[in-house]
Amino acid sequence: MSVSTELRRLRAGRATTRPTSDRSAYGFLSPWLIGLVVITAGPIVASLVLSFTDYNLLQDPSWIGLDNFRRMLSDDRLRQSLWVTFVYVVLGVPLQLGLALAIAVLLNRGMRGLALYRSVLYLPSLLGGSVAVAILWRQIFGTEGLINQVLGFVGIEGIGWISDPRTALYSIIALHVWTFGAPMVIFLAGLRQIPASYYEAAVVDGAGRWQVFRHITLPLITPIIFFNLVLQIISAFQAFTQAFIVSGGTGGPSDSTLFFTLYLYEKGFGELDMGYAAALAWLLLLIIGVFTAINFYAARFWVFYDD
């Protein structure tokens, strides 16, 4: 294929001008380079080209200019899916990270059973992305689910959390918060980097627990909060499995769990509207890019670097 010839040409060209280590390095890199071209970078460009076409896999793509993007402006379901995803990101990420930080600070003082607590709290974040746990969630938050049974003991009649459009999204956000273990482990590792002498000095100066947290722990941990925030926002924009399983693939009830990725999947792989799906994919990339850029810009005002 064209990629391999290009790579050969690249390497042949180098061989005349550069010492052998160059060639050897590209040899080691070759799987990654091929992957970059064929699996990653090529498809990104192809995606951009496709976004200006109408394509359904069966006929050749036809160039329609900006029509797909014009269509977005009046697409109500797209607007809904953006809103759902936005709510999920804006609520889910801070709640998850806040809980992760709180528990990490609680765990950090050399306490008995630390390793056990950490393991138990970490486990859900390994399982949370699975279909099996999404199925479990579907039962727990169902009309006759575990939550409503427990509520029944105290005489409250619960609602169908996932069949009610007002609450369905929040049950999926709850699942996201439940997986706080992974950022918690990152926080724990970060907390351990803070020199003990800082705390000694603060205690000598008579600082209380809250003051120590507010003026020592928190500023020193901001780079890690920032790192977690960037990564979690990016991955939250791509959430798919939980909403897909909980809503039975529809994004319902009444589109209340229509995550952006679900809509993209429906357009691209349900309706084979590949051109529009490619345009949606680029929209997602732009949105994630803008959020990440804002994150990096805002970081100047609150992230504290010790060195």
Partner: protein, 303 residues
């Protein structure tokens, strides 16, 4: 003790009574605080684990009790749900487990080989465009899969690879999980360069240095990669959902999904049973490798 705030692990290694031991009242207050903390944490752990434990217990109860029993007490465990769930779909559930196993095994091999090679080049070799390529590699870690999935699908379907394992496995041999390249670069940077130099003086080339010096020392990072690849690939739903449309090729998550669709809420017991079965390998991987998992995300998370 007032200094224990920062170092969770080191404190217990110091011998003898801690310096604050003599101040009795403060000590008692601290002990009470610590008790409260343990209670809070234990409650949090129970709350976190309860749904999972309840699913396991429910899968062993007679059908129909799933909606009546909220407790974890299991007086008479029954395997019927497992029998029914195993045979509920077109193929016995073992078929899907084997499909998943095949994907996982090839993915692990692919990631180990391709990511370690790329990591060696980035960490130890000089070449034109290194900085730019390294930056591209870092950015690609954060790249959403959805941006590339449409053209990727078109490519793989043109090649006639839909309903084969190739679209799931081949990318792993091309180091597309750049996260692991990064993890291994970090690790290789920690290996003393003197070892490379010594080998080079003895006449070793890059291939020999990579296979005889770096790879053996890289084993912890390789193990971390293997275990994360295992868990992520095993759980992966989006990619198989797109590429595997015939039941013959289903991996476990797609099979479970079709189980939900076909049975709906009519047989939670059997559904739970197969769900538990699908989580079991991840749970075992977690038990075996939790040290590696924790260290893996802690180190890549920090730097």
């Amino acid at each position: 003790m007032t200094t224990d705030t920062a170092r969770a692990g080191d404190v217990r290694t110091t011998s003898g009574p801690p310096p604050g031991e003599r101040r009795r009242p403060a000590d008692r207050g601290r002990r009470r605080k610590s008790l409260v903390k343990h209670l809070v944490l234990t409650a949090a752990c129970l709350l976190m684990i309860y749904p999972l434990a309840w699913m396991v217990v429910s899968s062993l109860r007679p059908e129909g009790e799933v909606f009546r029993q909220t407790g974890l007490l299991l007086t008479d465990p029954r395997p019927e749900n497992y029998e029914r769930g195993w045979n509920a779909l077109r193929y016995p559930f073992g078929h899907y487990l084997l499909n998943s196993l095949a994907v996982v095994v090839f993915s692990i091999v692919g990631n180990l080989v391709s990511c370690s090679m790329a990591a060696y080049a980035f960490a130890r070799q000089e070449f034109r465009g290194r900085k730019l390529l390294f930056a591209i590699m870092l950015v690609s870690i954060m790249l959403p899969l959805h941006v590339v999935i449409v053209p990727q699908y078109i490519l793989f379907s043109e090649l006639g690879w839909v309903n084969t394992l190739l679209p799931l496995v081949l990318p792993k041999f091309l180091a597309t999980d750049a996260f692991f390249v990064f993890l291994m670069v970090q690790f290789i940077r920690g290996i003393p360069r003197e070892l490379d130099e010594a080998a080079r003086i003895d006449g070793a080339g890059h291939v020999a240095i990579f296979t005889r010096i770096i790879l053996p020392l890289l084993v912890p990072a390789l193990a971390t990669t293997a275990i994360f690849t295992f868990i992520w690939t095993w759980n992966d739903f989006f990619t198989p959902l797109i590429y595997l449309t015939s039941p013959d090729a289903y991996t476990v998550p797609v099979a479970l999904r079709s189980f939900v669709d076909s049975q709906g809420a009519t047989s939670w017991g059997a559904l739970f049973a197969m769900s538990v079965l699908s989580l079991l390998p991840v749970f075992i991987a977690f038990l075996i490798g939790q040290r590696l998992l924790v260290r893996g995300i802690a180190t890549t998370g920090l730097k």
